[in-house]
Symmetry: C2
């Protein structure tokens, strides 16, 4: 009648290590409890990756408890018991009456829990960034004696630096990304629909690599001529043709960790323009990788790219990437001019060098990397070429 804890992606000690970092930040901010509603932060601190975040849920990290308490919809409690590292008494299911109810929702259950736990008069952190205005307001109204502190991005900054165990999982995700990029080269052919290439990629992303399947599907972007100037458009029903250029952005996923990867394909010989852009972009990519070391800034990495391609007369309007790994877009550091975040070992980024040059022409290449003690380890590993079909 009871569900058991499943195989865990990480040992208990790893979660306690992460929680110790969070509690240290909580002490610095002088709060007793932190309510974490961001889905990636929940996964980071508990192991939970089930898809229930469309209704209110979240964990309360208390300075007075070793394990966090997860408050979520009652029907999702078995998944939490199965996936989370905590003991089952730390999983609290709130009743179905709070679903689709205009007057009360799951955040009321969270606030009830804070009151019952004698935390309602203390310093409480909330992540207003992942709460709608109404929900933030509910915490303020229902907890008038609490000292509410906005802790948006507090956990995200902590998770930016991965442990070696996390890096190992990101390597698994990156191997899946590699496999999917190579699989695309096998199925891109004249007369094949964009959608059928996407179907094969999706299957590859789940089948995985080295016996380790993908554990969810990250959305992918796939476009071909005349849409290569778009960056986030879904695949279409159009057939690929002789002469088509195809741009793909995808990422393998393992236990909530992903590794982004972009490559450009050409059916038939690439145009001179495409080839030239590719050469300049790869030179820029290498310059960027060469700039990565502890102590360098995100700005340095981006500017190494901008400077190199600028010498060859090319510009890129968009940033050169972002913190990446626990979810696609970690909302902290950007690889862009002026971001003075200092690189530290085991920070992970998507070096995203997609360059949408004209409305109807763009080129994509990217790598996922970690900062090492002395430089960089590129986690993704496929040739830095235009895949010519």
């Amino acid at each position: 009648m009871m569900v058991n804890r499943g195989q865990q992606a990480f040992p208990r000690g790893e979660y306690l290590r992460r929680l110790a970092l969070v509690k240290s930040e909580m002490a610095r901010r002088d709060i007793d409890a932190l309510f974490v509603s961001d889905g990636h932060n929940i996964a980071y601190l508990t192991g939970y990756t089930a898809l229930s975040a469309y209704v209110p849920q979240g964990i309360v990290v208390s300075m007075h408890e070793e394990e966090p308490t997860f408050i979520l919809r009652l029907c999702d409690a078995p998944a939490a018991i199965h996936q989370c590292f905590m003991e089952r008494d730390k999983i609290i299911g709130y009743p179905e009456a709070l679903i689709g109810n205009p007057d009360k929702d799951g955040y009321d259950a969270v606030i009830d829990y804070l009151e019952e736990s004698d935390l309602a008069n203390r310093g409480i952190g909330i992540e207003t960034y992942s709460l709608a205005a109404q929900s933030s307001e509910k915490f303020r109204t229902r907890l008038p004696k609490a000292k509410l502190v906005d802790c948006t991005k507090a956990v995200a900054w902590i998770r930016l630096i991965k442990s070696d165990l996390e890096i190992e999982v990101m390597r698994e995700a990156a191997a899946i990304s590699d496999a999917a990029i190579l699989r695309a080269a096998e199925v891109i052919r004249p007369g094949v629909r964009e959608a059928d290439v996407a179907a094969e990629i999706a299957a590859s992303l789940i089948r995985g690599a080295n016996g380790k399947p993908g554990t969810m599907i990250e959305q992918m972007a796939l476009c071909s001529s005349p849409r290569t100037g778009t960056c986030h458009i879904p695949w279409s029903e159009d057939d690929l043709r002789q002469g088509s250029q195809i741009n793909i952005e995808l990422g393998g996923s393992r236990h909530g960790y992903c590794a982004g990867l972009m490559r450009t394909y050409s059916i038939g010989a690439p145009s001179d323009r495409l080839r030239r852009v590719h050469e300049i972009q790869v030179a820029g990519l290498e310059a960027s990788l060469g700039a990565i070391r502890p102590g360098a800034t995100c700005s340095d990495v981006a500017n190494a790219f901008y400077l190199t391609i600028g010498k060859h007369g090319l510009k890129k309007e968009t940033r050169c990437g972002y913190a990446h790994g626990i979810g696609w877009l970690e909302p902290t550091a950007s690889l862009k001019d002026g971001d003075m975040t200092e690189l530290k070992p085991n920070m992970t980024f998507h070096l995203m060098l997609g360059n949408w040059i004209d409305e109807d022409f763009g080129y994509v290449i990217s790598e996922t990397f970690r900062v090492t003690q002395s430089g960089v380890e590129v986690l993704t590993n496929v040739p830095r070429k235009i895949f010519e079909i």
Copy 2:
């Protein structure tokens, strides 16, 4: 150098029809402009489905303009020009300097546009439900002379009633759901990993049906014994075994429209308990479908199910479904006791009868339906059986 408008999912007149409904609601609320930031509402009113909503974006519907104006990140403007029904001068790209910038973001560009369009002193609707607290506050602070009106769910209530053109697209999505459920029955075998079944389903969902591919991947839930008591858990790496029960929830997707479908599978003969639950649930499903007609309430539909299964000693804790179609969970009506929303022709719902009875045992079945002039049309169409392998 310019990207052209692509093939549209709907004719221009269909978008103007939807906008006329929205403007009529705006008149009722006495506002001149409505800022729509919810991604599904944007798709509904423009045709845009590219995956750029992780940065601020949205459309301004003005009482003084026929077409809405879409303000989004500059690099995403070509996708909007390609996908949206509006003229290209209604697509405004905001500069990259607003990305990853702690001081200003894309909502500042929206507010600038409202000021330049002489709307800053008027009644302006915003959807606070899809805005973080900080962003709502920005509208208040930067538009001190505007009369800000919370229009959360205003567009969602309009889109609950589909046009015949939209129903046709949902039929296409439903045919994809059917194909994927049947495909799963072909690949579920002892010794196959859950992940490999998920891979085949994902590929089916994109390859589509009747020559019409899926245009994005809706997340799916797939679990097998001993996890059938969980509802939203991702697939695992475990092998299926003789005797395994498998629960699947999936949905085809066409141009932002989806059609959810759930079925239960058994490798080998189902247990007596599973067979008995199945029979009761199907009786409940049929009773629910029989209760659907214009003028009946959502509560009636749910209670027909609860009453029927109750007679056989079964309970279901969760609601019986929700408004569905433009995105998975339309945030309006719920098929639950006490929801007095009156059914009207061409409202569409996911009749979601998943029943997680014990921590380690659940059964799933569902259909996507529309209300007709006199009753119901079930859009999904696979046998209401336990798929026995």
